[in-house]
């Protein structure tokens, strides 16, 4: 007769490999493996077939949060969403997607082109604004990003917008002056609209490795963070780094990006995400 295989080290090694290959990270993977060993010793798990489900369920619990996937809403409109992150992660494209998501809920949305630095950044956001048929507030290239944000907040109030989404230039978290600039943009929004920015989303590229933790930590210090948009999950990367980020910084994933079109956005589903991690 079979009771089911004993939990063997070879199986645990295989699980560790899956976790590390999913960018979960060595430390987080080790602690998850330790949890499994303890659960086995305390007879919470009694055979191998329960092991994977135990691990998945524990991960799903870690990623869930109490007001699942809800964007914060300002007590009175507009709700200001600030989008931040390092270079090339998908901020501008994600803004178009989130705007589309909100428009489908019959909300009035406006965008602010506060990336005044990168070549053709304003043009890129302007094209998205045209496709969405919504207003964009932009100054000339090279203008002060905080001034654009201030101007946009003013306009969003005057035009009675439900949401104002502010695009910022990609910036490496190691650049102190750029992080200061970001803090200033956030402060300026708050001066114009009480409580703004009500939502600060960091866009993380799903292909990013352990450096995502340093990114999230530093951006959180500069502008606070209320959520993550995990982009490019339509590739082969698993984005497991969000597990460690939730664990040590308590920032939840709110959306995932699964393509380059404005419809390619999904509200984060922890169950689906964890199941995909193990396939």
């Amino acid at each position: 007769f079979t009771f089911g295989r004993k939990i063997d080290n070879e199986l645990l090694d295989k699980l560790e490999e899956i976790l590390i290959s999913a960018d979960v990270g060595v430390e987080t993977a080790s602690s998850l493996i330790e949890d499994i060993k303890k659960a086995y010793e305390s007879k919470t798990i009694t055979d191998t077939s329960q092991l994977l489900d135990y691990l998945k369920n524990s991960l799903k619990k870690k990623l869930a949060f109490d007001t699942p996937n809800m964007l914060n809403t300002a007590p009175s409109p507009p709700t200001v969403i600030l989008v931040v992150g390092v270079n090339g992660t998908g901020k501008t494209t994600s803004i178009a997607k989130i705007a589309n998501y909100l428009l489908e809920q019959d909300k009035k949305v406006m965008l602010a082109a506060s990336d005044t630095f990168r070549a053709a950044a304003i043009e890129q956001l302007t094209i998205w604004g045209q496709r969405l048929n919504i207003n964009i507030i932009a100054h000339k290239s090279g203008a002060d990003p905080a001034a654009v944000a201030f101007d946009a907040a003013d306009s969003a109030l005057a035009k009675k917008m439900d949401y104002l989404i502010v695009d910022t230039a990609g910036r490496l978290h190691t650049k102190v002056n750029l992080m200061k600039e970001l803090s200033k943009i956030s402060d300026v929004l708050g001066k114009k609209i009480p409580g703004a920015p009500h939502e600060v989303l960091i866009v993380l590229d799903a292909t990013t490795g352990q450096n995502a933790i340093a990114q999230a930590k530093t951006f959180k210090e500069a502008s606070k963070l209320t959520g993550i948009v995990l982009s490019k999950l339509d590739g082969t990367a698993k984005g497991g780094i969000v597990i460690a980020i939730k664990k040590c910084l308590d920032v939840p994933v709110k959306f995932i990006g699964i393509g380059e079109k404005m419809e390619d956005l999904e509200v984060f589903d922890p169950d689906k995400f964890i199941d995909a991690l193990f396939t």
């Binding site: 998908g90 070549a119 292909t207 490795g209």
Partner: protein
């Protein structure tokens, strides 16, 4: 740091002067963690540690340095050897045909910016007269982005409305010849290695433009997935080299080791900032110590 951790381990083991098999295994376990934390691919790490273990066991003890220093030296030498040596020289066409360079890679890795940086590098180091080719017709304002960069360098940007990328790249050659440009740099749209149609398009561009050099532009902060995309781009295009971008951040850059190990193709250049002049030649020894941490 790794050296501090190794010193701690060897002190605990009471290691004295001699590199034994057991303290090598213990030390390399720590190296394995360091490499994984640096985003080196799991399988690449396994193969590397196996290889280094064999080499370390056969090693004679160097009296003048501690066991932990010796392990680091062996690992660092092996890592540098894996990623190098790098030949930074560029082969240009000996005849009158323009030399064609092509940039490929995942979305947002830094291709468009690297086209401009590489153009400036060729202008400065080799006195070349580059033509930038805007073959990304799908990303909003991609052509405009390249035009802005071209203007900063005062070099022409070729674009042709109504044509698909392979045809645009094909026609850029005649345009270059007619306008005395001896070098062509093709900017392509970012794409996923698993998008069959877009990978076919890249093959099409290669067929129609016949580039002498194809660079995979790769983001230094990429994690375990680096080998998947690098492998596919290499098998589709037979890349000639890699440009690793955003090394001005604090990502350890283990992807560099993974990509070299899996494709065998050298990392030749690095992006070290957002400005056009932030472009450097790749040095394996510096990368090795950055990865080891």
């Amino acid at each position: 740091s790794l050296s501090e951790r190794l010193q701690g381990i060897f002190r605990k083991l009471g290691a004295r002067g001699k590199l034994t098999e057991s303290n090598i295994t213990e030390g390399l376990r720590e190296v394995r963690v360091a490499l994984l934390e640096a985003d080196v691919n799991y399988k690449v790490v396994k193969d590397f540690i196996d290889k280094v273990t064999q080499r370390a066991v056969g090693q004679e003890v160097i009296r003048s340095i501690t066991p932990s220093q010796q392990i680091i030296k062996i690992v660092s030498d092996e890592l540098t050897a894996l990623m190098g040596p790098v030949d930074h020289s560029i082969a240009f066409n000996a005849n009158n045909a323009p030399t064609v360079f092509m940039m490929v890679g995942l979305q947002g890795s830094g291709k468009t910016t690297s086209c401009a940086k590489f153009a400036k590098y060729l202008m400065k180091k080799y006195n070349r007269r580059p033509l930038l080719v805007a073959a990304d017709i799908q990303r909003p304002a991609a052509i405009e982005q390249l035009k802005v960069l071209g203007k900063q360098l005062d070099i022409p940007v070729f674009t042709k409305a109504g044509l698909q990328p392979p045809q645009i790249c094909h026609e850029s050659v005649k345009f270059a010849e007619q306008n005395m440009r001896d070098t062509i740099i093709l900017d392509t749209a970012g794409r996923l290695h698993v998008n069959q149609e877009l990978m076919d398009e890249l093959r099409d561009i290669k067929r129609r433009a016949v580039p002498q050099h194809i660079f995979l532009v790769s983001d230094a902060m990429t994690g375990q997935d680096a080998v998947n995309s690098a492998k596919e781009f290499n098998s589709a295009m037979d890349i000639t080299g890699v440009i690793m971008t955003k090394l001005d951040g604090d990502a350890r850059g283990g992807a560099a080791m993974s990509i070299k190990a899996i494709t065998g193709k050298p990392i030749k250049f690095t992006g070290v900032g957002e400005k056009i002049e932030n472009f450097e030649e790749f040095h394996p020894d510096r990368m090795a110590s950055r990865i080891l941490g």
